[in-house]
Amino acid sequence: MPDRAQFLADIQNQNADVRFAAWRAAGDQEADVIAELGKLIAGPSPGISKAANEALTTLVHSVGKDPASPKRPQIVKELLDLANSAGPLAARIHAFRLLSLAAGEDSVPAIAKSIQQAEVQEEVVFCLERIPGNASIKALLAAYPNAAAGFKPRILAALGHRRAAEGLPMVLSAMRSSDKEIAMAATKAFGRIGRKPAQPPQFPPTAGLTGWQKIDFMDSRLRYADAQVAAGNHAEAMKVYKEALDRPEEHWQCAAIIGIARMGTPEAATAIFPKLKSADSKVRITAQNAWKSMAGA
């Protein structure tokens, strides 16, 4: 293993093959090289910048397999220092991206510290989304009230992506926002979380939605209904599906038929039956296939 000084010299060598050999073996280095590599990432030479970038990545990969790896806490700590430093933005961004691969729940508060900084907040949320466990969900929820209106949809999307049931109350509240973008982002998160709330949700009025938002709106409702079927809440799902069945859009009818068929109940068969004679061939064939699948079940 080359010593620290030799390693850093090799990373800055003019010969690309020497740099390559150094960054490929960077997993042998200790965490204290991270700050130095961070400085090199933003340097003027693209080859050295790449070598530093790859060396950091390799170092993280060397402890990524096992969360209990003894070297991992030091590497995460150094990455946190780099991410939250006043150093070059490129290095900070790379640190956040690497933290998404190695940081544990105990690092979440330090990562979330930068969430209100416009220049890195996208990377912070990306990082939090990837860290397993509830700590990152809690950090997203804590950040939401103070987030700029333009960034609230991003946090809501992260909660939806994580299927964060703990976020449901906040999501339900955001669905009532007068800001259409926030209300729609919350509606999408609601569909993805897929949990039945204690009280019926108040959806944003569809009248003011754009064409695509209307598509997203119904998609979110159908996702929610599908989740209810999976959870055994057939009655709740059927309310959404029946609404979709009554819409003129054939694909919403098809989605409802497919969802209803998964219930496999007499009520499901009754709901699908009229669609067996639909004038729309896509709806008709979908209903016929659903009918067969229920008969087979």
């Binding site: 690309a16 093959d17 740099r19 390559f20 693209p46 080859g47 790449k50 790859e54 993280v60 990969h61 990524g64 397999k65 096992d66 969360p67 991206r97 998404s100 691969l101 190695a102 996208e122 949320v125 990306f126 989304e129 990837r130 397993p132 949809p153 991003r154 999307a157 992260a158 939806g160 992506h161 999408k188 064409g211 695509w212 598509i215 997203d216 998609d219 159908l222 996702r223 599908d226 859009e249 054939e250 694909h251 919403w252 098809c254 989605a255 038929i257 497919i258 969802g259 061939s281 896509k282 064939i285 979908t286 296939n289």
Partner: protein, 448 residues
């Protein structure tokens, strides 16, 4: 906002000179012996650069007997359904303008694919954007009720692929993924030959492919006028514009293209998965070696050797770039299937065609033998399924499983560790970091 071509050309400063008719042509009304509109498929096209251009259906061809281009698969004997490319979308106005000229007539032009998807007149879409957009565009097309032909590889992450499967199933949409080798006659002959036991139990499939480029350094610049680079990056992690990372060259970046294994691997290993009946499962372990670029802008493997071990039945798939080419058929890439009693070569598997050994071409399966579905051609199969609502030959689950091989190969290559894979739950069993790499949260407003 929808942009009609007249305004579009004016605002974009694009090539002028295309005369625009304000009168609906007779063929659009089904007059003068032309096929009536009810029988005509209305296609939308998202991403109309290199590959996307080849899906266009010029207005002038409406009413003529049109056959699929050879690189769409099949033997080219069948006439396609009447179709028009009625809506075009690209983030690069230059490409959009070129495609509009090629199509002729009055296609609707869009820079934002969501506007195209909102268009209720569009029956189906061809998606040939860079790979990092395939998943979201396909999912959103399903949401909008469109059937989809999306280029390979299906997706960039395991999570994306599973979400695509779910979306296609939720809406009952036909999604054909562009690994067209399965629709080519030689692939069918090889599948019939092998599945009927002509080389015994297959134990090993050895793929070969030439290496990826290692790239050089080209300075970042501002994007060219007319390219909406913010939209081009879309859900991927932000990176400054560089011409060597965008049109035609995105392939060599893991975040955008994934290298040879995700490009041609999605062809060669698609045929392997099909022949080996693995369209609904995956390997038990993945181990990779090789070298990334020593220098330059790219980050995908230059040389790679990926070993996939499958269980029940036990067999090994090896992706090697470069590997050992077939001794029987000369080709730049392909695979040799090694069985207990013999072996068979299947080459290429993409738009350049597929070839196999004469013994497979001459083979006739016995009446009681294994029957393998014979696609009439990839495009033709897509059209058939739009009508019948059946799953196409490269349906979304199959495509997701092929893409999974490519993605897992890249992850194992990056981490330089052997991964134990659970193909049912789609999780890595022995590696925390690898599991995190199965998903990549979207950027800004772009989320699964």
């Amino acid at each position: 906002m929808k942009t009609v071509r007249r305004n579009f050309i004016k605002s974009a400063g694009g090539a002028a000179g295309a005369f625009l008719f304000d009168i609906v042509p007779a063929r659009a009304l089904g007059l003068q012996g032309q096929p009536p509109p009810s029988d005509t498929l209305n296609f939308g096209h998202i991403g109309i650069g290199g590959r996307g251009r080849q899906f266009l259906r010029p207005e002038a061809d409406l009413g003529k007997e049109v056959k699929a281009s050879p690189n769409l698969g099949g033997d080219g004997s069948r006439v396609l359904r009447p179709a028009r490319s009625m809506a075009l979308c690209d983030v690069d106005v230059k490409r959009l303008d070129e495609a509009a000229t090629r199509v002729g007539g009055r296609p609707k032009l869009y820079k934002d694919f969501r506007r195209l998807l909102e268009d209720k007149d569009v029956d189906a879409v061809f998606i040939a954007s860079p790979d990092h957009w395939h998943a979201l565009m396909t999912i959103m097309a399903c949401q909008a009720g469109k059937d989809v032909y999306v280029e390979k590889p299906a997706c960039n992450t395991i999570e994306e692929g599973r979400a695509m499967v779910t979306a296609a199933e939720r809406y009952g949409r036909v999604v054909q993924v562009g690994s067209q080798g399965r629709s080519q006659p030689s692939a069918w002959q090889a599948a019939t030959y092998i599945r009927n036991g002509q080389i015994g139990m297959v134990r090993k499939v050895l793929c070969w492919h030439y290496a990826s480029p290692d790239g050089d350094w080209t300075p970042d610049t501002d994007p060219p006028p007319g390219l909406d680079y913010e939209m081009w990056v879309g859900p991927a992690r932000w990176i400054p514009y560089n011409q060597k990372r965008t049109h035609g060259a995105f392939r060599w970046m893991i975040d955008f293209g994934g290298g040879q294994i995700r490009d041609r691997g999605a062809h060669v290993m698609s045929i392997a998965n099909w022949i080996m009946n693995c369209d609904h499962t995956g390997p038990a372990s993945i181990e990779a070696s090789g070298e990334p670029p020593h220098d330059g802008m790219y980050d995908s493997g230059v040389t790679m050797n990926v070993i996939y071990e499958f269980k029940n039945p036990d067999w090994t798939l090896i992706w090697a770039q470069p590997g050992v080419p077939s001794a029987e058929i000369e080709a730049r890439y392909g695979a040799v299937y090694w069985g207990d009693t013999g072996h068979l070569t299947v080459t290429l598997g993409d738009g350049q065609g597929t070839d196999t050994d004469p013994k497979a071409k001459q083979y006739q399966a016995p009446y009681e033998g294994v029957r393998v579905f014979r696609s009439p051609g990839h495009g033709e199969n897509f059209e058939d399924c739009i009508r019948t609502r059946e799953k196409p030959i490269m349906h979304m689950e199959a495509a997701h499983r092929v893409a999974s091989l490519c993605i897992l190969g890249n992850i194992a290559f990056k981490l330089r560790r052997k991964l134990e894979w659970d193909p049912v739950n789609e999780r890595v069993l022995n590696d925390d970091e690898a599991n995190r790499m199965l998903s990549q949260p979207g950027r800004g407003p772009w989320h699964l």
